[in-house]
Amino acid sequence: MNIAVCVKQIPDPATPYELDDENHWIIRPEDQVLDDTDRSGVEVALQLAEATEGTVTLYSMSPSGTLQGIRQALAMGADAAVLIDDPALKGADALTTARVLAAAMQQEGFDLVIAGTESTDGYSGIMPQMMSEILDVPCLSFARKVDAGDGSVTIERQTSDGFDVVEAPIPALITVTAGIEPRYPTFKGIMQAKSKPVTTLTSADLGITNTVHQVIRSVEPVAARTAGEIIEDDGEAYLRIIEVLEQAKVV
């Protein structure tokens, strides 16, 4: 089975993000890391590929930088990566991103597409569904477990009170939740990652021209939290606490 996995390089969440003063985009350093939510998708793909003697190809649209994030996913065991790195795509909206990634997958071929539910730096949460529409394949979302059958794929879709079992013929697209525990990249995997093929494409290579860009008009800081009230207990502090809770409509 030829499995395509969407992954994203993002600035390290451990360090505060900075925004460009002019266009308000996140300033992306050369060293970006693999979005943590993508690890589960890579893990699912690797398990399916191991079970079907398949291959795992990563797809990502972002500035290449040092490729640190992509290498993290290759070190887990993915076979190859296709990266669309094009300054013309800076600030592309979710639909444009979906069109670009879908075009790259169509060009390379696939049986199954796996994505996270949403990225940690963008949070739109709609890109995979758009891709499934463009690719004209069923979308199975919020998978907490995935099994590949003969010509079909079955998932357990996480719901608020349990899970649904959903089956679809392949090719299909699946979004996976973070509940699937990813493997650690081993030292051997880290060393092998350097020699795995990484193909870099532009939007022109994919025949995509009319790209749409988001414009961020303004950014406002989150309102500072107001200081709390300290209630000194003179024996009747409980009365004031009840009053505060009633005002907050929690009692």
Binding site: T66, Q68, R71, Q72, A75, R183, Y184, P185, T186, F187, K188, G189, I190, M191, K194
Partner: protein, 385 residues
């Protein structure tokens, strides 16, 4: 505020990526359980399989047996991070398997022994230990008396070992035994399966530090094992044991580097928040200078350790002396830093609920294990004088 690690020209991007992986393994799999495992006096057996899945048990060994094909330098990076889980005993238990028990087997063992013991140990399915020390023989390896007598296709083994890390639950022991006359040429190494009749684990020993690693005394009463379990050649055991002490000593040195980083991190965090006479401890010159001294000794240890690792990787003749220098210096440096950080924490440092007194106890053994400080001095002196 945390310690800004100094860059090292010995390390590349791959080792930096590997360091991040080990650190996240420690964050998820070790540190959250540290208090529980230290109190219990052991860590769960399934940590071996988890560590194996992350490639940590066979890092340095041939990929043919499931190893990672890594280096001594990579081992240093792994040890520095594994030790930061606030349970030194857990890291000691893992390395007692991956480095201490397996290195002689990996270098000198037959393919059958590697298939039967090395590969499953790298997969985390078997736990290994190394059995050298006896009640009457520690650093003086040539004095061991546990005897293996040939009887047909078997060795019959009788004797006693002590201070054996992983001893209570090891599935096999790389065991130093006397197959010949008294003295260094009469020693051999065999792989001893612990389900052999006549083998018994005595007490689980209570220790000053490294409490999450189990340490035991072991008894052998006419235990019969196949002669095929001999590692390498008969009579070469002393040479095998001594030539593989380098790996153990390097591990201890790298552990010391990791502990110093962890303690200085914890110390800086505490000192910047702790107000005394209206200002943080980091504003007092005495502590600024003491942190300076700690950081300098940390970096000196790191440099000696990486240099030794680099020489061991190159199989350079001076590797053993370099690693003895690293280990000699590391033990003193980490004990100094642990003492300073304990003092910094004042009354809080005396409380068992923090990791500080635990590290203070743990590092006391760093000038004893894997060859005492006195033995390191003898090794260095022999090369000097």
């Amino acid at each position: 505020m945390s310690y800004p690690r100094q860059p090292s020209r010995y390390l590349d991007d791959d080792l930096a990526a590997f360091r991040n992986m080990v650190a996240s393994f420690v964050d998820l799999e070790i540190r959250p359980h540290a208090d529980e495992w230290e109190a219990a006096g052991e860590f769960p057996r399934d940590l071996y399989t988890k560590a194996a899945a992350a490639g940590l048990l066979g890092l340095r060994y041939d990929p043919k047996w499931g190893g990672g094909g890594g280096s001594f330098l990579a081992t240093c990076v792994m040890c520095e991070e594994l030790i930061k889980g606030d349970t030194v005993g857990t890291a000691v238990g893992l390395l007692a398997q991956s480095e201490f028990a397996l290195s002689v087997l990996a270098d000198e063992g037959s393919d059958r022994l590697k298939e039967e013991y090395l590969a499953p140990a790298i997969r985390g399915e078997l736990i290994g230990a190394i059995g050298v020390s006896e009640p009457g023989a520690g650093s003086d390896v040539a004095a061991i008396t546990t005897r293996a007598v040939r009887d047909g296709d078997d060795y019959v083994i009788s004797g006693q070992k002590t201070f054996i890390t992983n001893g209570t639950r090891a599935d096999f022991i790389a065991l130093a035994v006397r197959t010949g006359d008294a003295g260094p040429r009469g020693i051999s190494v065999v792989i001893f399966p612990t389900d052999t009749p006549g083998f018994a684990v005595g007490r689980k020993l209570e220790k000053l530090g490294s409490r999450a690693s189990d340490t035991a005394e072991l008894f052998f009463d006419e235990c019969r094992i196949p002669t095929g379990n001999l590692v390498g050649e008969e009579g070469m055991g002393m040479r095998y044991v001594l030539s593989h002490f380098g790996g153990e000593r390097l591990v201890i040195s790298a552990f010391a580097v990791g502990i110093m980083e962890r303690l200085i991190d914890l110390g800086l965090e505490y000192a910047s928040a702790r107000q005394v006479f209206g200002k943080p401890l980091t504003d007092f010159q005495t502590w600024r200078h003491r942190f300076t001294e700690m950081a300098t000794r940390l970096e000196a240890t790191r440099t000696l350790t990486y240099q030794a690792a680099d020489l061991l990787d190159a199989r350079h003749g001076s590797g053993d002396v370099a690693v003895s220098m690293a280990k000699l210096y590391a033990a003193g440096a980490v004990q100094f830093v642990a003492s300073e950080i304990l003092q910094l924490h004042g009354g809080f440092g005396q409380m068992e609920e923090s990791a500080i007194p635990r590290y203070y106890r743990d590092v006391a053994g760093f000038s004893v294990g894997a060859g005492t400080t006195e033995i390191q001095r003898e090794i260095i002196a022999a090369a000097l004088i």
